[in-house]
Amino acid sequence: MTDLLQLVIYGIVTGSILALGAIGVSLVFSILRFAHFAHGDLMTIGAYGGLIGVSLAGLSPLASIPIAVALAVVVALAAEYLLYRPLRTGSHTVILLISSFGLALILRSAVQLIAGPAPMVYRSGIQLPMRFGDIIIRPDHFWIIGGTIAIIIALHLFLTYTKFGKAMRAMADNMDLARISGIPAYRMIMLTWVIAAALAAVAGVFLGMDTRLHPVMGWRLLLPVFAAAILGGIGRPYGAIVGGFVIGISMEVSTMFIDPGYKHAVAFALLVLMLIVRPTGLFKGASI
């Protein structure tokens, strides 16, 4: 029982990271209509951006988040400006997917080129864990879960109560009508990238805090992130949050029964199950 509870807690930690990534994937899909394959590598960029603050300025990983966010946002906006925007005119959206796949490899190899292929950590040594009976929780895990909840609440407030948040939902709902209403599509697209990249960067730093930094860390997470986004009904940020936690908890709890290496297979199995049973996701996402 305590084992299960312990795994569920790990699952919530993983789920937090997946949810932050999946929200971004979902937002990008709902507005730009393509699966963004470089999203995992944006997380990697964020994680290594955090490392800049940690190793050069001696900040804590959390305090380095602004650096991580800034770096990921710059990369995402540059990709929008140099790749996605030119490709949007006159091509099918799948070309954007392929371009984002290319970008994923570019980002990953750039990180490897600059930081080297070896795994790194934000801080060496072992954090003193907190014990609650037989349950062990690292302080970092508190930060990850708490930070994710805070971000989700902030995003919810933004989407529900601000003019631009509502306009983003309007764009996702009906792009043509949003244009007709005078909503500046291009500015909204930029805003989408800023938010998606910022969330990816935070997810990357959290992932680095939870485990280690590695050039392939984000790419490895891409599948569960997509699984979470699809489970929640792709194009539905709120669904993506639920999807993230469902996938995260399933992945961790599965290690009770199967080789931990097959965590990703669990995410994949859930994804496949979802595609068979209800391709629109738990919350009936964008039409396919």
Partner: protein, 234 residues
């Protein structure tokens, strides 16, 4: 002076021209209805006014200024609002949010206008918080019109506002169009229910094959036997 003046409009979506040498004028506070068979270019013309279709030749002027091939985002700032025939609401958003999106580009206080729209469509006032996707076709049409009116346009473009509605809602929609017009909004409307539409129209145009065929007052067109036989279903 005409509010809207289209002269020799020729164009289409890329390839072949759908519209050829179309002329149309609309004075301030007028209701003008375009009727004609399917494929006559009625909706395409309306989209051309709003900058959604490329005009190759001819020009469109609004309020004395050229708006030919202007982007929709810009046309909207000049005081023209457009209600497409389909997909004309934000389905996952509430009634109130739909109206608010209509006012997106307004910098001033749009609350009074929202109140006027609620007065015009009391049914919407009762359901401010309901997601529009859950509402009936007639109610959605009200939301769509309400959204377009949030900018207090001088001209409202309505593309087949009664398509797919039940007879009861068709009558109601025409009454509402008439009321909107009474607030001083010019209306250019494409309609399949030609007789009812012409009955509330100041003037009407008959398009066929992307060209002008007839134009007259609404009553004049209705009285014309030839037109009635050919285009208004006897």
């Amino acid at each position: 002076m005409a509010l809207l003046e289209a002269t020799g409009v020729t164009g289409g979506y890329g390839g072949a021209d759908i519209l050829s040498d179309l002329n149309l004028t609309l004075s301030a506070e007028e209701i003008v209805v375009i009727v004609g068979p399917n494929g006559a270019g009625k909706s395409t013309f309306m989209k051309a006014v709003f900058g959604l279709v490329t005009i190759r030749q001819g020009s469109i002027a609004f309020d004395g200024r050229d708006i030919t091939n202007m982007k929709p985002e810009t046309v909207v700032t000049r005081g023209v609002c457009y209600v497409p025939q389909e997909r004309n609401v934000f389905p996952s958003m509430s009634v109130e949010e739909n109206l608010e999106m209509g006012a997106f580009i307004r910098k001033d206080d749009w609350r009074p206008q929202m109140q006027r729209i609620y007065d015009l469509f009391p049914r919407l006032a009762e359901r401010k918080r309901q997601p529009v996707g859950q509402m009936s076709g007639g109610e959605r049409q009200m939301v769509a019109m309400g959204r377009a009116l949030m900018l207090e346009p001088k001209l409202l473009l309505l593309d087949e506002p009664t398509a797919g509605l039940s007879p009861k809602f068709i009558d109601e929609t025409f009454r509402q169009v008439k009321r909107v017009n009474e607030f001083g909004v010019g209306i250019l409307m494409v309609e399949q229910n030609a007789k009812q539409a012409l009955a509330i129209a100041d003037r009407g145009y008959v398009f066929a094959n992307g060209q002008n065929r007839f134009d007259d007052t609404g009553a004049g067109l209705l009285a014309n036997k030839e037109i009635a036989e050919m285009f208004l279903g006897g």
